[in-house]
Symmetry: C2
Subunit: 214 residues, 2 copies
DNA sequence: ACTAAGTCGTGAAACCGTTCACGATGTGAA
DNA sequence: TTCACATCGTGAACGGTTTCACGACTTAGT
């Protein structure tokens, strides 16, 4: 069993994106420092990450693009493609649905759920919105164990529990709160307001530095 | 000049959210371990962060909620409120606009820009969409130095350069690529596809662990 | 065949953020 | 008043991640 940190896995995903692009442009091989430069990290970092997946390059040729793509995909991808459920088809949920439809070969939003009866049966970005009562059934039938959560914060904890009961084990949460989940559930929260506040803070700091220094 | 890491600033934003809620519920004081539990971090971590902002609590009373709120806000907030521009009013941009309108007292999306002439002058979630040619003028007039970037990846680098030329110093980018910016510009990228891939990976790992262990 | 140049793989060091551990401090009960 | 107790503030230890540094390797050119 491969043991990679979340940071390494995240970078592997980025390497793959670059490599896919290289392959499409007909580039056959690539050096660690080229990958590094594109992502603004160090070449050593790239080599470390590839070491984790057990891939070897060769001096003077670098890494074979096709082979590395295959190697990373073996690590990251689920056979048959990753099927994902989206729960909460509001403003953000819709944006995400539209974004993922058909964009990634191995990453497919396969079902969308919402509590609102007015949405049930409606076709949005290629998916028919289903009621929450269908969750367990659809998740089981499609072999889904990853979900995107875009419901209001006030509902999120309750919905997470429904998801887990339905067999979901990985959750990408957009509601701005810390969710309580059992040990074996993997959950990551994307807190946009917090990120924006952080950006604003450092933008201001840099401004101040410019003002007071030099 | 206060020197806090990005992680500390991010957590300060989360502390504030909790404290605001406490204040609204009439809670007068709070212990580090209570804040910690809500965010699923350690009490020591909380105390360290508050040390950075120079705030002191007292044994047996903990931290005064109102005073701490004030102290964090002094650090995080810009006098008069942070004004933010959003560039790229597509699916994601609209969702973000609708989310931020009137939700945060000190964090206001004050202007929205798009290249598409069909959108110019249209009122979306309370804002009139402006052409890119107005960028410099509006940014300067409103004292904006933070922007949310939700344009297609193919446009992002070019647009970032426009933003910087217009005086923007902090950027929250949603386009899935690494942008090249000068040293003094603070930029954070939220890569949703990468995050989702990471979640799917670890959800699968945990499944495997369950399968092979025990 | 040998040398020069450049990259790879990786042990060790450096770095940063988190956690431990404990003395200091303030509070309430006896 | 004094003691027992819970929490605070923080130096030191720890752990994970990144970077350094260098030997091994491959290839191109002479
Ligand atoms: N829109 C953004 O840009 C943005 C930014 C930051 C955070 N968020 C967070 O993302 C989440 C969604 O935001 P949004 O703007 O799309 O909100 P929204 O109100 O537009 O959509 C929420 C959707 O969830 C559905 N829903 C409510 N309760 C449900 C339940 N119990 N089960 C299933 N579905 C349920 C609603 O019917 C609605 O369709 C919120 O938690 C919000 O805080 C959004
Ligand atoms: N929608 C999502 O959930 C999602 C998820 C992950 C990443 N993203 C990224 O976020 C970005 C926006 O996604 P979206 O789904 O909203 O796309 P979209 O196509 O719906 O919207 C893009 C908007 O940007 C505008 N635009 C294009 N070029 C411009 C320019 N040069 N200057 C100003 N405006 C310009 C377009 O007119 C359009 O309104 C993309 O980079 C996408 O990859 C979106």
């Amino acid at each position: 069993m491969l043991s990679a940190s979340a940071k390494t896995v995240a970078r592997l995903s980025l390497y793959r994106r670059i490599l896919t692009d290289c392959a499409a442009r007909g580039v056959r091989s690539i050096y660690s420092h080229e990958l590094a430069q594109t992502l603004q990290i160090t070449a050593t970092q790239v080599r470390r990450d590839l070491m984790v997946v057990g891939f070897s390059g060769s001096p003077n040729k670098g890494y074979d693009v096709e082979a590395l793509l295959g190697s990373i995909s073996t690590v990251l991808d689920r056979a048959g493609g990753e099927q994902v459920a989206l729960v909460g088809v509001g403003n953000l949920g819709r944006a995400i649905l539209s974004y993922f439809q058909g964009r990634y070969a191995n990453l497919n939003v396969a079902a969308a759920f919402d509590q609102d009866p007015a949405l049930h049966g409606r076709l949005i970005h290629g998916l028919t919105i289903q009621p929450m009562t269908k969750l367990s059934e659809v998740v089981a039938a499609n072999g889904i164990y990853t979900a995107i959560l875009t419901v209001p914060a006030s509902e999120a904890q309750r919905v997470v529990e429904e998801l887990i009961r339905a067999g979901i084990r990985g959750i990408l949460n957009f509601a701005p709160l810390t969710l309580r989940v059992p040990e074996h559930i993997y959950i990551r929260t994307v807190d946009i307001a917090m990120k924006l506040e952080t950006v604003a803070f450092f933008a201001r700091q840099d401004a101040a530095r410019e003002v007071y220094e030099a």
